[in-house]
């Protein structure tokens, strides 16, 4: 039995979920107000920026290790939000970057953030830095920065690999408030242990939608919720009818057979 091509259930399934997602995206862009629940940890961003300003020490934002892809784009959206806050409070935000393309966009974003708050002169060109495109060289660079600048708050948003612990442990050492968010499940435990707030898995994507209020992201998120709801419904339906011989067992059996393909 092979699944070289989709069967009707697959086509229908994907078509329904895609249609819902597209509908919510388009209706959000047409101006419909959509709701996102509060995400724990995000409200702490303001607090972390405020505390850093009180202490008169700078902040650090790392956009993770990925090149230009969906994770780094979301991270940059959050960086822009933090940069605006930093500009409003008149504080410095250091953004070390791992990829040349991300670097170009990050610099532009942070500069614009300071300009939009009416403080273009507060932006230091040296604060957005391209450190290295090598994992450990980058990690060593960020660790050095955290130590030298005695940063008061650190933000780790994006896709991280093994260096997550190196970075967050250094932040812990200098006593910074740390907020992290990553879709990389393997690195979440290390952030959970050493950061004050950690945004887990899917929440990371929701976070950028929550902060930026970008209609496309908001709409997509709501559509994804409906899709997840459908999956949950299928799981529940399939599970409660899973015992062989019970009435309605055919639901579970047929679903399984159709899903498997053939």
């Amino acid at each position: 039995m092979t699944l070289e091509h989709a069967n009707l259930l697959h086509v229908g399934f994907v078509a329904v979920i895609s249609a819902i997602i597209l509908y919510t995206i388009l209706s959000a862009r047409a101006g419909r107000k959509l709701f996102i629940r509060r995400i724990p940890g995000l409200s702490a961003i303001d607090e972390a920026v405020g505390r850093a300003t009180e202490m008169g020490r700078p902040m650090l934002f790392s956009t993770g290790l990925s090149t230009i892809d969906i994770d780094s784009l979301q991270a940059l959206a959050i960086a822009q939000y933090v940069a605006r806050l930093a500009a409003r409070y008149g504080n410095r935000l250091i953004v070390p970057v791992v990829d040349p393309v991300v670097f170009a966009i990050a610099e532009q974003l942070v500069r614009e953030a300071y300009a939009s708050e009416g403080k273009p002169e507060a932006f230091r060109a040296d604060d957005v830095r391209f450190l290295s495109d090598q994992q450990f060289a980058y990690a060593a660079g960020v660790m050095g920065l955290i130590n030298r600048e005695r940063v008061a708050s650190t933000f780790f948003f994006g896709y991280f690999y093994a260096e997550s612990l190196l970075l967050s442990e250094t932040g812990q050492e200098v006593g910074a408030i740390q907020i992290a968010g990553t879709p990389a499940t393997t690195q979440v435990p290390f952030f959970l242990a050493s950061c004050d707030y950690t945004i887990i898995g899917d929440e990371f994507y929701a976070a950028s939608a929550y902060l930026t209020r970008e209609p496309t992201l908001l709409g997509s998120l709501v559509g994804q919720d409906v899709g997840k709801g459908l999956l949950l419904l299928m799981v529940v339906l399939g599970t409660v009818t899973a015992v062989p011989g019970m009435p309605l067992h055919f639901i579970s059996k047929w679903l399984a057979r159709w899903l498997f393909g053939g």
């Binding site: 070289e4 091509h5 989709a6 697959h10 086509v11 994907v14 979920i17 895609s18 997602i21 597209l22 509908y23 995206i25 388009l26 209706s27 047409a30 230009i68 969906i70 784009l73 940059l76 959206a77 040349p100 966009i105 532009q108 974003l109 495109d133 450990f136 093994a162 612990l165 190196l166 967050s168 442990e169 812990q172 050492e173 879709p183 499940t185 435990p189 290390f190 959970l192 242990a193 050493s194 887990i200 898995g201 899917d202 994507y205 970008e214 496309t216 992201l217 997509s220 559509g223 994804q224 899709g227 997840k228 999956l231």
Partner: protein
Amino acid sequence: MMRTRQWAIVLGIYIVAGLVGAVALWWLTHALTPIFRPLKGANLWAAVGGSVAFWIGLMALLHRMPASVKKRVAVVVTFVSGLFYVLEFYLPKKSGIFFWRTHHTNPFSPMLDTVGVATLVITGFTLLLATFNLCLVHGKNIAARRTGYYNSVAFYLAFFAMATFGLWQNHAPTSKLFASKVTVAQVYGYLFNSTYVPLGSTLFSVLAFYMATAAFRAFRVRTAEAGFMMVAAFICMMGQVPLGMWLTHTLPLHGPLSHLRMESMANWVLGVFSMAGLRAVTFGIFVGALAMSLRIWLNLERGAFFEQEL
């Protein structure tokens, strides 16, 4: 009312574009087959030269176009390349583009491996870009005599040594180096096995030390959540090694008490809790990936990268 009409128009555009794209792809596979046959000698060079000239012309033409056209070109290219895989998979095995001509087999399946090799070659060329980029950075360091520029010199030495001896030993592994007894393959072995391999594994193993200090300083049971995490971590750490297995080795191997053995508990944590939790996360990520793919494919994505000036 207005909104409904807008959606209808957008949807209509995509349906039409999809159909046109599908027909174009189908036409490429069938009608153009005779053009894509191997050539020899002068014909080959003419075809290659012609293709390059055609490409340069096309690029020059596009370059003169306003930014909005360029952006649209990028959007169309994205859409068509995505369409290929979507049609290949979601059309049934026996089908034409036109539903009434079902005696055709799926027209896109034969092209799968060609597209695969093409992506492979193109990414091969882009890998050279990353290398080029690295050389550029270190070249600048040396030219400007920045602090630690000798590191960049070391980079260049290592880079050229590895590339040269790699290609050389691949070409003639047994040839001798400068009339000495040392063969090229041996030098390559010193570079690869004795320097590159240990450097890589040692860099990674440094993490073990950081893990130890982090365990001491960062892993604090501040909340109930952290407590749950620590218990699961303890079971998994102990259940994987003979020491942990020895702790509970007096318990029987079978029967109800065997579930309390360390290795059974570790597998239980991995196979029930961890599996279910991560599967729930995976479901969310799959739906998220579908949404993201749709946004990119249909040019709905917004943000710095997608709105930058061209």
